[in-house]
Symmetry: D2
Subunit: 458 residues, 4 copies
């Protein structure tokens, strides 16, 4: 009897293969789902069931794809108005058995109306659950966000509170298997720890430990979460069923001379931050490969044709995989020409200066004419450590709100470290802003250097 | 903050890499230990510490090898008379910190005098342990064996009882990380489940749940465990420090014509049971690759030169790895000639008939002249389901006790299914017994077919 | 500028990825064709072209699948009456360029009417070809078979002779890249050597060196080749275009208890020969995994549902891959229960005795009543070394010609070593023949032991 | 019978595993040599012999290491004064047999006195060689360099000419297996093509085709080659025998906070060129991972302790491997902190501006006060396309000749594309030069943009 956790970096998404006696089930599979089959087979099990804890907003579900691949049945929570077309609806109390392993369905709404948890039992042993799959209801160190039904905000926060009580009642001994770990957009305060139990969370997870329903609801209502536009696409795909990823994810290498064949495609530079600062193709958008899960859904349209700029094929493939996991399939290839070779053809290139904390501090103290510091962090971060004089505009919203900026000014972008700031700088540069620079180190350096924060964010 | 479990099949041995903040520790590394370094590095951590829960009897410890490879310190429990030369001795209450992760030493003697457990804390969260490494003190579904100090049998069983109480006191929320899983020789009754908590075991593990010290000791004294002779070698190596495995474990392929160059080596057939029954090299010993961890230490001498007979290089390599993990390094190659090709050179071969349950039942009911049924299971198994008329002689002890058998008789060997019976049959055939056959299906088939067991084992 | 050879074991099929300057081409891709894309991408090239040397009879072409995956164009030789629907037709003299690499089309009919060769040039260097892809026209040590147009046998043999002269004219310096290596059914006398040149073959390949057209044709007319029935399916698929292999080739593990769910499926035992002899499921057909490419197309129907019996998942997957490469897709799973465990459920099993050469020689010298020796080798092999008293019936034809055998007799099957003999024995046993045994060592042992061959085959 | 080529990128080194009949040989193994054993075993062969074509100058030989691992014998050419201690000396005409494969020794001095070639025969076929291992005597498109015995320059060039005639006499049909491919420091003019034959080279390799001994010698005397200082170390190690690489090559990740523990180590930045330009640790030396084989031996001392700066563990491991292959073992770890996170600790960083061709052309046309363009290409390249006004100083010699530069001037470094220029710029910056910049695109851009070259190099 096994539970194997599959962690998808970037999305910080956790899925699980569980099995016993030759039968396996997958909980919350991602879109590129061959790995679950291989894993189950290696464990001597056929995949017979797929369980979804809820309709995911942040990734394309692999449930219908995996079902087509294996013949497994898909089980989903109640969604009376718009049922998931590829799944049957299961309700509280339904039990599924694989060998000696049993899963019992718990309805745990709040994060979404269709949220389920699955308590895990070992039929050979006691009657208490030995573990529980909590989806986006309960995380390690945090609980799920409840901002998806703005009209019913207090109601669903309350529903989540009730669901958490149901989970608490499973007992301290139950191991926790959530759908996301630290780094996910589905929760801000998750622990960096990858393992926990109901008993441990009951004592140490601030929101789970909070036993006052009204206080809980109040806190949830005061949270701020962003909803990237691609969430809409995910909802549709995860109701109707998405397609399998392409069979070969590695993008085709393209030489500098072949770019003409990709006219109209967006040049997406997935190299590291400093590589982009050092030199990049004019007009390219910087989203480093490990930031694609978080920002492609804000800054790119799913229908946009993409040509990657990458250090090598491995990085291009990782980028294509991250994009595919959120439904972005139109990668036409990657530029297999390093920047020196690119430039050796007398082709133009751009660069962005990196300012250090002392330089930025000087400018903040005595702002040069026409210069602004642009903070692209999330509002929660900015409120926690506002930088004096910085203007705030969240990176995800930058493309839509560019009109609020003045193309005549020169902007230095900043975030927590300089990574998102570089992405933002590339957005500005593409839009024709000149004099763009990046505050490398950003808020982290500001604080480490002992500079004071502002009284409040602007 | 991560805990990664590495399971070594065959030995059913569990080791762990844990880490946070760039520093990792390994608990109970096996001999072929490069994988821990790769795993820690992939997690962004340097291995700084190695912890041993006790001096292992059943495998060569990788602790000194890993320390030489990485510069890590090795920590071991108290062994006043014969301290482990490659480790420092740590005592109750000592704490180690890696990033936000803390390990606290618990002395939990009983299985061995030097047994330690390590409680795992997350410094960012509560004061209770989130997990505990229990070594061979507490398993999932069982507790450690206490037969290693025959003179002090009741005393050490009592020590284990006390140690278990110390573990129980850590709280229901603590996740259990033992040193062995189901299939290990270190415990008979382990659950097949790979995950548990103190809380779950407290309720469902019969020996852990037993709160009466005297009853506990009584039960432990009535257990029967075998101690393969290679345990002595393991004890010495794990006190003095073993050598690293050879850099390339895959044995060199050898053609039939090259066997002359391996004169004096034991032909060790690691193919599956039925392949050996069908045809095998005369004089070869059958120990299928997945049974080597359990039986090589009984049937082979560590100084014995070995030439493997294998289906292919992958199987030969798996066999060499299993052998190396218990200190058997003298594999000179493997016969890379399938039996048909072997026979096509007009070379001799042997075969063993497989008897089915109906044939054996006929013989048991009306024993042919000069025929015996030889049961090679462990005594505990035999007592649970004795087969009428079968003579019992445990497989591990067969080579030493061959003199008790009559070479004039024809033996049909049996066990639970026919696997160990085939090993036993090969031992008899090598020793010159003729008329040897194997009861395929064995006790399992006997019971499934509804034949009655004997009143008691013979 | 690179040429990479991909060898498909079993089929002894050779395909090639060639490339330069960011563009690659594949010659004769097999059906499971992701590997070509990965390989080309790793070389910094996009696959832009696929070339077929002829319409393959012995495997499913991956050309249309690879084209769909990459957008590459497929090029095929002239087939006026039934053109390949997924390819354009190219003729002598057409040249293709990738970077500095050029391919020139040569029409080299004989093996098939549409056979092409492709001479390979380096535009930066001399005007002679540096290599040539010869398809099934010229092999290392042999030339292609010419038995596919029985009505035009002499004509096509003559065409091949002329084609060989065209290849010879390319010059001694040209490296040879054929479509098959030793072990293929497409030629009997191929060298075991994996590399050669036109110059080396011109001197050392007996048929290529033969400069007398009539003598060449005469020799070709006297060759005997078998055409397995699946060749018809391959021809159709390779004209119309086959489908991609399933995304996960590893068959699902099935326990003994799940067999009932596969009622009507053929039990196909892909374990090694001796494992089948030792014990097997009643009614199962033995075709060891490495013999599937050669015999599945004779002994199985492509529409037959298959349940594999395998040692492990890796072997089952290898078997499923071999089957898929020749268009056999209906693998429903594999029995993940070793024979001892199978038998432990009191389930029935079969076994086949292996006779050694001395026993068979005794029987041949003085045949027991009702006993026959059945030689299942190919006619060419039998003619080279006939065994006295053996009846000949080629393994591939055995299922169709079972009626010629007498179910009342007991047969000992033989071949060159005992491998095909075991397959044949399983065919007989499935058909209800009793008293079947296998001559392990077979003709090889017969000769190695110094027994005389017969005057002629029977 | 197989020949497998193993290409070591960076060094452009080619080694070979050849085998037949269960016995394999390795030609010119590199230091990290486990892969040869795995490859031979996968081919069903034991490694019985190791052949060296000559004492390598540019990498650590794996011959003695591989011999220790497998028991193989090592064979080397005659070196009367300083014989290789781990090998026996073989002379012209000696033959070695593996199965049907035969290797015949040819003495082919010129590149070195001990240079051997090995002609490859198939004993089953003709008497001509089917291939030849030519070491550094004959490459594809070029011949070996002859600058290692400055006192005997004309003599050894003549010896090479004679050796080439011996190779030519093997016949057009022989496939060429040299010890290096394009990109090696062992020859300037190698073809980018990876395959050839004696016949093809005879016609198309300019130096091999040259049949006038005096003209040949004259041309060789006019070649210019650099000898990096580490060649001396290689010669010593390859005479006495080097040690095996460490068992785990992946360097340990180190956080920014751990750098204090590596005081005195050189910070070696192995990231890509533009990443270094964008931001880097102060005082770090830039040698991108794929340039280490070429430049570590010039710019680093083998005894220097190294701490890598890398994008990730994979890149750090690749760098450590390249360093190990040339005997640089003192890698203590790699900085596992991206530059933004580094800077977020308010730690200092550097950056280098990249100038484009128009900016450089402006400066060349009208040089700013105190500015110089520094060309770090090899002399042969500079002579082929001198840039007006540029000062030449070869990158490899830069550390030793820094005193020739003026620290008061600001230098823009250039090479062919900007890669070596970045390495050079890092050398200058470490030495305290300020105002350093890099001409990205360099000579390639200069020519592509149509700017004129100078009359002659300066």
């Amino acid at each position: 009897m096994f539970v194997e956790k599959i962690k998808t970096e970037g999305l910080a998404h956790l899925s699980y293969v569980i099995g016993d006696g030759g039968e396996a089930a997958v909980v919350d599979p991602r879109r590129d789902c061959e790995l679950y089959v291989e894993l189950a087979h290696a464990r001597g099990c056929r995949i017979a069931h797929v369980f979804e804890t809820h309709r995911n907003e942040d990734l394309v579900s692999g449930a219908p794809i995996l079902a087509a691949m294996t013949g497994a049945e898909v089980h989903h929570g109640p969604n009376p108005e718009r049922p998931v077309v590829y799944a049957d609806t299961v309700r509280e109390g339904r039990r599924f058995t694989f060998g000696k392993l049993e899963l019992a369905v718990l309805e745990t709404p709040g994060h979404t109306d269709d949220s389920l948890s699955f308590a895990l039992y070992d039929a050979d042993f006691g009657s208490e659950p030995v573990g529980v799959f909590t989806g986006d209801a309960l995380f390690i160190g945090d609980v799920g966000r409840t901002d998806f039904y703005p009209d019913r905000a207090a109601e669903v926060a309350g529903l989540l509170f009730d669901s958490l009580r149901k989970l608490e009642a499973l007992g301290d001994q139950a191991i926790l298997y959530p759908a996301h770990g630290a780094g996910s957009v589905c929760g801000d305060a998750m622990a960096d720890r990858e393992f926990s139990t109901i008993g441990y969370e009951r004592r140490n997870n601030p929101m789970f430990a909070l036993q006052d329903r009204d206080a809980f609801v109040e806190k949830k209502l005061n949270e701020h979460h962003y909803q990237p536009p691609y969430f809409r696409l995910m909802e549709r795909l995860n109701m109707e069923g998405g397609e399998a990823v392409r069979r070969v994810l590695s993008p085709a290498p393209r030489g500098a001379g072949a770019l003409a064949g990709h006219e109209g495609a967006t040049l997406l530079d997935v190299r590291g931050v400093t590589a982009f600062l050092g030199a990049h193709l004019p007009g390219s958008l910087a989203i480093p490969a490990d930031m694609l899960s978080a920002f492609a859904g804000w800054l790119l349209d799913p229908e946009e044709r993409l040509l990657l700029v990458a250090d090598d094929g491995a990085q291009a493939t990782a980028a294509a995989r991250s994009l595919a996991q959120i439904g972005y399939d139109r990668v036409e290839g990657f530029l297999d020409t390093a920047l020196p070779a690119w430039a050796a053809g007398a082709r133009p290139f751009g660069a962005l200066p990196a300012l250090d904390v002392e330089e930025v501090a000087r400018r903040v103290a005595d702002p040069p004419e026409g210069w602004s510091l642009l903070d692209v962090r999330g509002v929660t971060e900015v409120e926690a450590s506002p930088i004096p004089g910085a203007r705030h505009l969240y990176l995800g919203e930058l493309p839509q709100r560019l009109g609020e900026l003045d193309p005549e000014r020169s902007y230095t972008t900043m975030c927590a470290s300089g990574a998102r700031a570089t992405v933002a700088a590339s957005v500005l540069a593409r839009a024709g802003f000149s004099g763009v620079s990046v505050f490398l180190g950003s808020a982290g350096a500001w604080q480490a250097a002992g500079h004071p924060t502002a009284d409040k964010a602007q």
